[in-house]
Amino acid sequence: MSLSGKFDRWGRWLRLTVSVGAVAVVAALVLTGCGGGSSSTSGGSETTATEAEGGTGETEPVSDEGAAGEVTISEAELQATVDEALSSEKLKASGLEPLVKETFERATPELTSAQLDKAYECWKGTSCTLGDGPVTLGFADNFSGNTWRQFTKMNVILEALTHPEVGKFIYTDANYDLATYQANLRSLTAQGATAIVTPEEYGPAAYSAFAAAQREGAKVATFLGQPEKVPANALTAASNYDLCETAGEMVAATEEAVGSKGPVAFFEGLAGSTQDAKLKECLEDEGVEIVFTAATEYTPSGAQKAASALISSGKPAKAILYTYSNVVPGIVDGYLKAGEEIPTIITLTQSNETICQMAEHPYPLYVTNSANWSARIATNAAIAAAEGEEVPRSSIFPLPFYKAEKSECEKDKSAEYPGPALVPDSLTEKMLAGQ
């Protein structure tokens, strides 16, 4: 018999085996789903990475003794939290918007070791029980595969722990896929989420899914991105930095660094991002002279290509303005390889590698705090709204730039470590150790 004949016969046998196996697996899954009942909580679209590491994370609630709402804190303690969160001592806590200030107040008291353990267990899983309250909190994340996202998830959990009215917490990850993201929102409401927190990243494409979730009784609150022309029924609250105010801060940093408003290069993230377009427009309104624009797709290689194109264009950019610190090392690598002088880089967020690289190859670097805690404001708003409280529809927080110092490099921490994130040190260590 020829080899292809053997393959055909073997193929028929294997096809049959695979078919029988597939039917058996489906039957087993159906039976498990029917019998699983109350113990199974994870939706089909939830991330598998965290499940594998920590199971579903379904654990017993801890006492809310020591929750932030019950503890009195001093103005100095609050100010210290604000200074850490903004990586700046320029702004007073009293000047912050009420919900933003309340969020920092809740973040100030030290958590008990039981709460820290609970937070860590919950962070490792995709669902957990945080308390005895009636509110089910859902966090519809767009991606879970980087350290910034993981610190943001921890912030949501830590904030939820300060609310005794929260019972269950459910986490979903869309892996950068809009359809999955929309399905995840539906799965959260199907699992009884009454408060949903989510980053504002898809703009209007996500608003119909938000509106559907709100029709199902959930209160949706977004963080970080600035919602544009969002329908009244789609969103309960949004917490974000103001793009034009941030542009103003960028301009001030540019003037401080290079002594003028340009010429500069503006590096975009994802193609067609409304946030980048708005920020660029605000920068131009502020009189910034943008001589070169390039997209980076927020990837290290994209950043390298953008830097390479800028160098070869011969455009005399004195500074590069950007919105994502994690891939700045790619930009700097481009300059190092080319043997060119690294210009000033002014970017939103920060990462340990970016600062450590600057320490090794010094150049003027301006960053902001990574604002993982902005998810806390949205969490606060969504939970309060779910409990029937009035919450401000929009909460704006400041995001000042500052010049990074070599001493901020923390060599014992991983490359993507996003800097001060209002996560207790003991938790940060455990998270970064990959335990």
Binding site: F7, N146, Q304, S414
Partner: protein, 332 residues
């Protein structure tokens, strides 16, 4: 008179042998000249070459891998997932230490062989559609990569030796491009001059005839998937070394570009003979065109329009070239 001129022209073309490889090489030379003269005055300067050549080199490597699969009439959508997995294996297995790099590379090779075998056996053994199989395998690998990597990997920097080598260059030309060029020449030699390579080509281009000639065509076709996966693995390791902190997006950009590089290198998606050298030229063409458009400051949307238009034009030209010998034969 007219026929005499046509015959002379045909004879002239016949002397040059207008193959797709020759056409794409000519187009690349033209593009390089345009880049130097019209786009940036210092295209061949160290500053440009040092950042551009590693990108070309990695694309050349993975595109040659894709060419092996395309030659069988298939297409491999598991390429990005395989590359990304390589980055994560290098991080996890080496723990950022030079001493453990070799072990990490061995694990990479094993993983690639497994991926290639799964693809090959399912497609050639079960006669399943390559699009569906490689898409599913890609999903499996992506999911496994996320689980294996963990939420916050404690080590996020590749070993120094790897990043140093991947970042090294010779007069601005990256070692990666030099190696990829050698690889393309070697692959061409194997495919055209070595028995195993010629059997692989025969098994891919005319499977039935190859089987009747006693060639174990299905095995060779499975081998094409394994070789391809190993080559993606090399590309993934090089890309990880080049960007130093590989993340879960490491392989994303190489899926479409690798297919385009092979196609504009003269291959047809229904299978048949492929030329690694022409694929190399295709990879250079795509990367340099994208670079030129970036330098000119075009937005992503405009870049995509221009790249699409150039691709359509290029494919039309290649189609015309392929038809050329037929027309000449008919005339004679």
């Amino acid at each position: 008179m007219g026929s005499t001129t046509e015959t002379a022209a045909a004879r002239g073309l016949g002397t040059i042998r207008m193959t797709p490889a020759v056409v794409i090489s000519g187009v690349v030379v033209l593009l390089l000249l345009v880049s130097q003269i019209l786009v940036t005055g210092d295209f061949f300067s160290r500053s440009t070459l040092s950042t551009l050549t590693p990108a070309i080199g990695i694309l050349v490597v993975v595109a040659i891998g894709q060419a092996f699969v395309i030659s069988t009439g298939g297409i491999d959508l598991s390429l990005p997932a395989t590359m990304t997995l390589m980055g994560v294996i290098v991080l996890k297995q080496s723990e950022g230490q030079n001493g453990k790099l070799l072990g990490a590379l061995a694990v990479c090779a094993i993983a690639c062989v497994v991926i290639g075998l799964v693809n090959g056996v399912l497609i050639e053994g079960l006669r399943l559609n390559s699009l569906v199989v490689t898409l599913a395998v890609g999903q499996l690998v992506t999911g496994y990569t996320e689980v294996y990597r963990g939420s916050v990997p404690p080590v996020q920097h590749v070993p120094q030796n790897l990043s140093d080598w991947a970042g090294a260059d010779l007069g601005g030309v990256s070692y990666i491009l030099i190696v990829s060029f050698v690889f393309a020449v070697l692959a061409t030699w194997v495919l055209h001059r070595v028995v195993v390579g010629r059997r692989l080509v025969a098994g891919s281009t005319v499977e039935r005839a190859a089987v009747l000639s006693g060639i174990k065509a299905p095995l060779y076709r499975i081998a094409a998937y394994v070789i391809a996966a190993l080559v993606y693995g090399v590309g993934g390791v090089l890309a990880a070394g080049q960007i130093q902190i590989p993340d879960l997006t490491l392989g994303e950009q190489y899926l479409l570009t690798s297919v385009i590089a092979v196609v504009i290198g003269g291959a047809v998606l229904t299978g048949g003979r492929v030329s690694p050298i022409a694929t190399l030229m295709g990879a250079i063409f795509i990367t340099v065109l994208d670079f030129d458009l970036r330098v000119e400051g075009y937005s992503t949307g405009v870049r995509m329009i221009i790249q699409g238009a150039v691709l359509v034009l290029g494919l039309s030209l290649l189609f015309a070239v392929r038809r050329l010998p037929i027309r000449n034969k008919r005339r004679s």
